[in-house]
């Protein structure tokens, strides 16, 4: 076992170590508070983390190609509002049109980011900082600043996320399916392999006939479509839609990616690592009330975890460099 372990790629080794760390955290919490291990409670943790997992997987694609999408939470809120308004106008349309609508709308919003980055060669952080505000503004225009409450939502619309199968909610199943899809696709789909190549060394990718800009476009589009779908899930779960839902949530999503081992410089990271990063954050968040620490410490703890993760993902000596160090 150990000799094989040494042959593992650094990413796989990191994933294993991180999985052990997450299990250790879980064990520590359960040891102190056995009720945490109750099946219902663990399923609840997964429910609470499901949307984060899906968003982080989408975000990961963008970070892999040296970008970052700050507009995911705004995209989510806009698509959530669209879903709520659609449901209010056509309460009997069923759930399928809502799913299709949010996926398409989110994909379009993501593709807009992608086009700006690809064709106009604008820096992703600037583009998505802009669209983040624009998308929030559009919600206000659509809703005129008013809320859509649960009494205006159809029963199907609300019930979809709550339906349970084998003890897990639809939300949890969706997140698990998404995770499985990403783990397989990122490993086995040729386009996904090109994503790693384009992010790892754009110049070499160009010389191999890979269009790095097109890869960025694809990443933004998929990330946007996932955010759109999560918009409906969020609104249905919390049974309310308004301008400010998920405000600032993009930072948690990005944090989950970094904790999960995605290199902010692009080209490296695994879907499994991202899922683990989300679960780690989820366990921390749901055990805080048990331990008696105010949820306001969540931010602080997130920050400590990110910094520790960056320190621990030991890069070889010499490749560590400060942002302002002049390139040579």
């Amino acid at each position: 076992m150990m000799s094989q372990y040494r042959d593992w790629s650094p990413v796989a080794r990191r994933d294993l170590n991180f999985a052990l760390l997450t299990l250790a955290l879980l064990a520590a919490v359960v040891f102190r508070y056995p009720t945490f291990a109750a099946p219902g409670n663990l399923a609840g943790v997964l429910d609470d983390t499901a949307i984060l997992i899906m968003l982080a997987l989408g975000q990961m694609l963008v970070i892999l190609v040296r970008g970052v999408d700050l507009s995911v939470a705004a995209n989510l809120a806009l698509c959530g509002m669209l879903a709520a308004l659609f449901n209010r106008s056509f309460p009997d349309a069923g759930i399928l049109p809502v799913l299709v609508l949010t996926l398409l709308a989110g994909g379009l919003l993501g593709a807009l980011n992608g086009v700006l980055v690809w064709k106009l060669r604008l820096p992703p952080i600037v583009v998505t900082l802009g669209t983040m505000s624009v998308y929030r503004g559009v919600i206000y225009l659509l809703s005129h600043g008013s809320w859509v409450n649960d009494n205006e939502m159809s029963r199907d619309f609300l019930a979809f996320t709550r339906a349970r199968f084998l003890g897990l909610s639809t939300l949890a199943w969706l997140a698990l399916a998404c995770a499985a899809l990403f783990i397989v696709a990122l490993r086995r789909m040729p386009a996904a392999r090109n994503l790693y190549a384009a992010g790892g060394n754009p110049e070499a990718a160009a010389c191999s006939g890979i269009d790095a800009g097109r890869m960025q476009f694809l990443a933004f589009t998929v990330c946007g479509a996932i955010a759109g779908l999560c918009g409906y899930l969020w609104v249905a779960r919390f049974a309310v839609a308004y301008t400010d839902i998920a405000l600032g949530f993009e930072l948690q999503v990005i944090a989950a990616c970094l904790i999960g081992g995605v290199a902010i410089a692009g080209g490296a990271g695994s879907a499994l690592g991202v899922v683990l990063g989300c679960l780690f954050l989820g366990i921390v968040r749901s055990s805080l009330p048990l331990v008696g620490i105010s949820a306001f410490w969540q931010m602080f703890i997130n920050g400590v975890v990110i910094l520790s993760a960056v320190l621990l993902s030991a890069r070889p000596q010499g490749s560590r460099r400060a942002t302002l160090e002049s390139p040579r």
């Binding site: 086995r188 040729p190 790892g200 191999s208 080209g267």
Partner: protein
């Protein structure tokens, strides 16, 4: 048998700068052609055209007797043209196997077939006799092994034409031997190889044909058997020394700068020389000889690992990369010139915009910088005028020693003359000047003395009278 690849009359310009001005080349099956030329002769541009990154403006490419057009890197790969890039373009995060098949993964039902990927990659590596495994992460390979990865990638694509762009520049003797073994193996298998290098002994060891470029043109080709090294050197230099450099005769004064046993790991070693007042000291060498690295250490941008530098006064550096290191492009001319002179401009800690502008205007007039005014951003100026701004910012300090690293590279004739005039005046005023240049006529015409560097060491010193183009080139290229 007709040649496998024939190039006729290739021309290529980049925004008014002529890189290729009529290149003809033939590559034959089962033959290794060495491509020679000074820095800037057009070798890299040719490589970029053959690998599909650039398109020629005019001229024809024939592969196997049919006219072809290399529209993109993918097209080059499909035509069977493989390139081992000088700067080693590999994917560090990926494994060797993935690097070999990037963008051409073996598939099964639309998905990457990892088993086939691994076994096919291992087969290619075994054929080459590589000393690493297909599953290794490229990040853990040496530079030499990364070159082998690039060669293996070319083989995976069934390349018939293989271009090796200065692959040996950073390899040890043993690694070179390994690379040559692989190159010969490919030659015997019927590939046509193009081998670019600056080292003459390698040319005679490996290649059987040669082609020489000068100033973007082909100036000679033929079989290497029976060809003398001197003949090749003459072809490479082959131009009359232009009579446009106004060199003033200055009697050298006391010693200004003394460098003893200076060394920096993996860059240069055992460097010792002196520079006197009123002297222009030329440092000649090929790209990668360690000249710019030496300049960075003398200036203090990098530290030396060994040795001593003694200087009675300050040292300024006009770096080779004027856009990246010499200036801040979005800043105005005034702000750029002010940067090394802030202490003078702000004696009480406050910068006076008026004095900044006055200083800039003074130098705009003195060096005839063509600009709308001191507030114009440097990024909007032509290359020659940008270089004048970089000169001005250091001249304003009146440094005891001024180091100029490739100061006239890529700038127009007028600006070039101005740079040379400034150098002459500075020396005449009792300052010391170090001129680093790859351009032989410039070095010969401007220098009182010339040092030649090769692979990080000083190899020769020439007086002004003894510094001929052929002597310098021979000393610089392992003759």
């Amino acid at each position: 048998m007709p040649p496998l690849l024939t190039l006729t009359g290739l021309h290529k310009s980049f925004g008014g700068v002529r890189a290729l001005a009529g290149v003809d080349l033939e590559l034959h099956r089962g033959s290794i052609t060495a491509l020679l030329g000074e820095n800037g002769a057009g070798k890299s541009t040719l490589v970029k055209i053959l690998s599909g990154v650039h398109q020629p403006d005019t001229g024809g490419i024939q592969l196997d007797g049919t006219a072809t057009h290399i529209a993109s890197p993918t097209a080059a790969r499909n035509l069977g043209i493989g390139v081992v890039h000088q700067e080693c373009l590999v994917f560090e995060h990926l494994t060797v196997a993935e690097n070999l098949f990037v963008n051409a993964y073996p598939r099964r039902r639309g998905m990457v077939d990892w088993a086939a990927l691994r076994s096919r990659a291992q087969t290619v590596l075994d054929d080459l006799g590589a000393d690493f495994h297909a599953q290794t992460a490229v990040a853990s390979l040496s530079i030499a092994q990364r070159h082998v990865v690039q060669i293996a990638r070319a083989l995976v694509n069934e390349s018939r034409v293989l271009i090796l762009d200065e692959p040996t520049a950073s390899l040890s003797q043993r690694e070179c031997a390994e690379l040559f073994r692989i190159a010969r193996k490919l030659r015997d298998a019927g590939c046509a190889l193009l081998f670019i290098t600056h080292r003459f002994e390698e040319i005679f060891e490996l290649a059987d044909r040669y082609a020489v470029f000068r100033d973007g043109m082909s100036v000679g080709t033929g079989a290497l058997a029976g060809t003398q090294r001197d003949e090749l050197i003459r072809l490479m230099v082959g131009r009359p020394v232009e009579q446009m450099f106004p060199k003033q005769d200055v009697q050298p004064g006391e010693t200004l700068l003394r460098v003893e046993n200076l060394g920096r790991d993996a860059e240069f070693e055992d460097i010792g020389f002196t520079l006197r007042r009123g002297e222009i000291l030329g440092i000649y060498g090929l790209v990668g000889a360690g000249r710019s690295e030496l300049a960075q250490v003398l200036f203090g941008a990098e530290h030396a690992d060994r040795g001593r530098i003694t200087c009675s006064g300050d040292i300024a550096l006009v770096p080779e990369d004027r856009q990246g290191q010499g200036s801040i492009l979005p800043f105005s001319i005034a702000a750029n010139i002010a940067l090394p002179n802030l202490a003078t401009l702000a004696p009480r800690g406050w910068l006076s915009a008026r004095r900044e502008r006055e200083l800039a205007q003074q130098w705009i007039d003195a060096l005839a910088i063509r600009a709308a005014g001191p507030s114009q951003p440097v990024g909007n100026l032509s290359g020659g005028n940008q270089q004048k701004v970089v000169l001005a910012k250091w001249l304003a300090r009146k440094p005891a020693v001024l180091i100029l690293d490739e100061p006239t590279k890529g700038i127009d004739v007028g600006a070039k003359a101005a740079v040379h005039q400034v150098m002459g005046e500075l020396a005449a005023a009792g300052h010391g000047v170090i001129l680093i240049s790859s351009e032989l006529p410039e070095i010969i015409a401007m220098s009182d003395r010339v040092l030649v560097m090769r692979r990080g060491r000083l190899r020769a010193e020439f007086t002004r009278a003894a510094a001929t183009g052929e002597a310098l080139l021979r000393a610089a290229s392992d003759a």
